[in-house]
Symmetry: D2
Subunit: 368 residues, 4 copies
């Protein structure tokens, strides 16, 4: 549905980059889930900028308010409204972009679509800041999935500016991915990525990259063919993150060059249970989870905001102009998008787990 | 919504590969569109197998029945039900797969999800045959878009078995893409692809590939942020096609390795109108169409059904077995998926064009 | 969603009164439900006309075709498509109504809404015949509810032409409601109703009435506040039946004249279980079922088609005219709407039972 | 969809009676609508209690906060979040009702459905206070409809405690309905109603009643058969208001006792335009608005909270008890429900007007 994602665990977003706040509404979380502000805040903190030259210099406190749906420390089953007030706002640099659309930004299409009434400040609803309410909603989904099913979603920067990380074990990924500003669990690659981001920023330019995510303990049977497959809903959710230009599951585009005999995951019995001898399909067959870890990758284009001079137009004076984009922004969105990727995956998994009945509607019974 | 795609132009699918029929229900097509069976049949015919060794040997007549929603040659505004009876059915070879799931197939997850009640014959709802009702629904969308907005969607095999086509002009693409069994508008590459498919088949194996699609005359302003972006809905729709493992828009994964200064599409005035000096974003910014051609690519894994021996399990006897998959199937699904890619794109575009008010609800007024 | 009712048990309708067929698509029925054509046919037969002077003289065989979603006598979990071909069609009398809208009919609004392209024959999608696909979909829901939860829905004509039935026990209602052409479980009242309908018809006129429904064994806890309450969804579903002008639950409009002390249902313990000492609220509090029988009433206006001369207009010649409505129709829609009321209630209950997890997604496990 | 009403103008509610706030999210309002807090506040003020003995003694300031979707005094096309903080909260009296469900209240079903985790204070999400966010969202819809189409919705207390108002002209209704605490445009009846409410309250009891609504200038052609009819969606929306037990359109239940020749609205030409010679159907035929005023009535049961002793149970001690309900509440919900009825109607009409393309997605073009 327009503006909503998920049917049984539904999320809507609201707010603008430089408006009063950004927030989300979560409808359908089962009752009885232990949830407090700190559960949300800790996830929100993971997307906070902190590294000069690598992250934006906009410094928001991002203090989460939990407005509804929780009572005595447990979810009630009613809608959960979460919001964060915008505080560190500087809309001055954006005034120009009302008439001079920034290349690679939504300024121009927003103008067409909303007739010039969109809130342009800081990019409005198109800002990377809208990943903040995604992360808030995702924190609820993540806690729900973890508590009930033990699902763990690990996203991290796989590649930035063409620099790829090496193979890492799950333990290393778990431990190291948030240990550096680029959110890459390979310290060596991380250092090179940092350097690359810094250099691009200094040159008034920006970088893109790839986020990979692995989800453990996803129950088999999630996903609803026809037309509501798990991968379909994941792809939809991930493309809603600003700057995403590609999504692939398992070996993805690489599998397009393989033969069936290489690509198919064989079945085996291990300890009496059916399992697969490989995971080339990334945990999804026929749109349904198969019990193997979910593996997917998300391509982010480089941040469109760059100091370098670019060609644009002045839509009022109807002439071509040159523009250098000021304002504050990340020279590479990938590191701070990592928690958003995690969040969107959690939202979709929570939704499908509820659809499939894998999570009950009441998590336990209250004592009173 | 589960089992439905689109809000204002909505499509549901039904049927099974070896059941009585496959069909679709299209809800929300405006009234007054000239539509007859031939409009649908001509699209359906483009996905018919015909080339021995390259396509399946299952030979269905695929005769379309138009059951509702059209009166005196025009759509009425009521739901349009379309179906095709299955005729050339041979379910014998599939009996084994009830207990021995085929590697790379949905047999195993279907068993888990539906408790053993799924129609396994010919793959049931997981069959590539379900792209037929997609094509039927897409034909309605395509006619609607073409008639009202002049939208043209051109999909074709870009790469098969690692063989890529060369650069081709739009005119060549338009003219040549359906001129060979692999649906590639580059005759040279097409020949190599054919040869590769044939060879793989002979070796009891299969190939994957990439379908690219270009949509012309897409009006700017389609797509609904937040969470119902045009690219999100396209990705969701395309991942519903069996065997899809990746979707990318514009330069997609390639843009992850670019700098902002290379990737951003500059704005210009041409003949008094704003346009873009490049199309690296593939016609979508901020989830909204920008008036440039839509460009996207879809990765298909190799057909899972192969004659080569593979490892599987017998879920009844609870032991590991070897299996060689019989039945009739395409050694590469890409060529016959081309019309399905086109169809799913058309469905999403028709939906968003209606959402945006770019297509009226009544196409004209009847004379009487 | 437009054209669809239900989220987890979803139903869409298609077809026209004088088109090729009428049908429905049921999405979301759990797998493993025993279902065959006869289950549907037996319900369809209950809405067949048979009594001269009381029912329409259009005699359709109404043979149900089950096209998908059932395999080896059990539902598979895939969409179920059901249809009935129209056979006994006589569209001649309707030609006039393209230009002279029948008073009380949708002719005029259909013309406005669909621009003159609607299928006018026999009322098209506005015909009472569209209750037939409702009944087909309802039959699936009813079987699902009965098999899994023991839910029983008993609808009957409570009042026709101002003649009300007397109090009857549940057993009498169950046994007698389908024993006469007016579907009233009070034989005395039924006779008077029949006579009234016959007389109205002879006078070229028509009657309205009230259908009451009682649902037994509805599990408590169905309904989703806020905005998706059980009574909200029931009311929506029931207003979709042609000619419905009012819906009330429990004492309904009567309760508007009561005091709280009279209207509130007190709570008691009976055999260790909480129950209610009365059922004035008709089994729904706060939008949620409370475990008591659901009781609701639906008001039907008199059939708009009457032989008596009425005032209308000729929209082509733009002048006022008189019209006497021919064609074949029931002089009172109430008796044949009884199964439709039952069907719509069953659809909503099945949907909410699935939403609440009261019915599993797989009814049992297949042996193989 | 669960927790959401409307497809193109969508509303979700959140908050609890004694939680931090109550609020709503409005998705899909076109851009360019002049909107400020005062537009919302003025509607909210109409549901504020003020008359001692007739309204609740809970005195909330109900100060509206407009959090998103409006920029420089105009809607932007982005989601609009509105909320009101709860201030005058006294949850003490409700502690008992955690174990002793109040007769006629949702306490018992909430306990079952949410496993004892629901926020019971002040009735939580089941409180009449949830009509406040309905009114907030309705204010946006009302302004949109008024500004673009001139739609005017007039709701008022038609009957309270069995006392009915007399016939009044539209002008009188418009002028007088908010002139007294019972929101009845007939001053004489209003006085009697006030007296009745006061007396009932003094006797520790409560009253019900009927709200009638008339909508002027509703464009013809709104409503989407099959299954998304205008009356269906209105009924669904109205049943979501707490304490509603019946909805009827036009003559409603009265039409069930009429003959077709009396009930049908004849068509005429007036000034070259087609119109109807009566409005027995209340402006809706076949689920579609016909251009006549919409007329509908909503039955409210008496307030369940009464001081009089009632029978209930203690679910913890598992024994029958007597209970007298304290807390603060209206002895008759009807007067303060009037703005909620108006709001829900406006929401549905705005949604269907957008669906039908009767309101554009951009209301005008901004100058810059």
């Amino acid at each position: 549905m327009r503006g909503i994602i998920g049917e049984r665990f539904s999320v809507a977003l609201f707010g603008e980059s430089h408006g009063a706040c950004v927030g989300c509404l979560v409808i359908g979380c089962p009752s009885g889930l232990g949830l407090d502000v700190e559960d949300i805040q800790s996830k929100v903190d993971l997307r906070k900028p902190f590294a000069k030259g690598i992250h934006t210099s906009r410094m928001e406190e991002d203090r989460v308010e939990l407005l509804s749906g929780v009572f005595e420390g447990k979810t009630t089953g009613a809608p959960i409204c979460l919001l964060v007030r915008n505080v560190d706002v500087d809309s001055g640099p954006y005034e120009l972009f009302r008439r001079v659309p920034r290349p690679g930004h939504a300024d121009y299409v927003a103008r067409l679509k909303y007739g010039g009434f969109a809130d342009h400040r800081g990019g409005g609803i198109f800002s990377g800041r809208m990943t903040l309410p995604m992360v808030m909603a995702g924190a609820v989904a993540e806690k729900l999935l973890r508590t009930t099913l033990g699902v763990e979603t690990l996203a991290y920067s796989k590649e930035i500016g063409g620099i790829s990380m090496g193979e890492r074990s799950l333990d290393e990924i778990r431990e190291l991915r948030y240990s550096n500003p680029v959110r890459c669990p390979d310290p060596l690659a991380a250092r090179a990525m940092e350097e690359a981001v810094r250099r691009a920023a200094e040159e008034g330019d920006s970088l893109g990259g790839v986020v990979e995510a692995i989800c453990l303990n996803v129950p088999p049977g999630l996903g609803e063919p026809l037309l509501s497959e798990l991968d379909s809903d994941l792809a939809r959710a991930l493309f809603s993150i600003p700057a995403v230009k590609g999504v692939e599951v398992g070996l993805g585009f690489r599998s397009a060059r393989m033969r069936g005999s290489e690509c198919n995951d064989g079945l085996r019995f291990i300890g009496g249970d059916v399992t697969f001898s490989s995971n080339n399909l990334g945990g999804i067959i026929g749109g349904i989870s198969n019990g193997m870890p979910l593996v997917l990758r998300v391509a982010f284009r480089p941040t469109p905001s760059i100091a370098k001079t670019q060609r644009s137009v002045d839509v009022v004076e109807k002439r071509e102009v040159e523009v250098s984009v000021g304002g504050r922004h990340d020279p590479c969105v990938v590191p701070r998008a990592v928690p958003a990727v995690e969040a969107m995956i959690s939202i979709v998994l929570a939704d499908h787990a509820l659809r499939a009945g894998a999570i009950p509607q009441v998590l336990e019974r209250a004592k009173t």
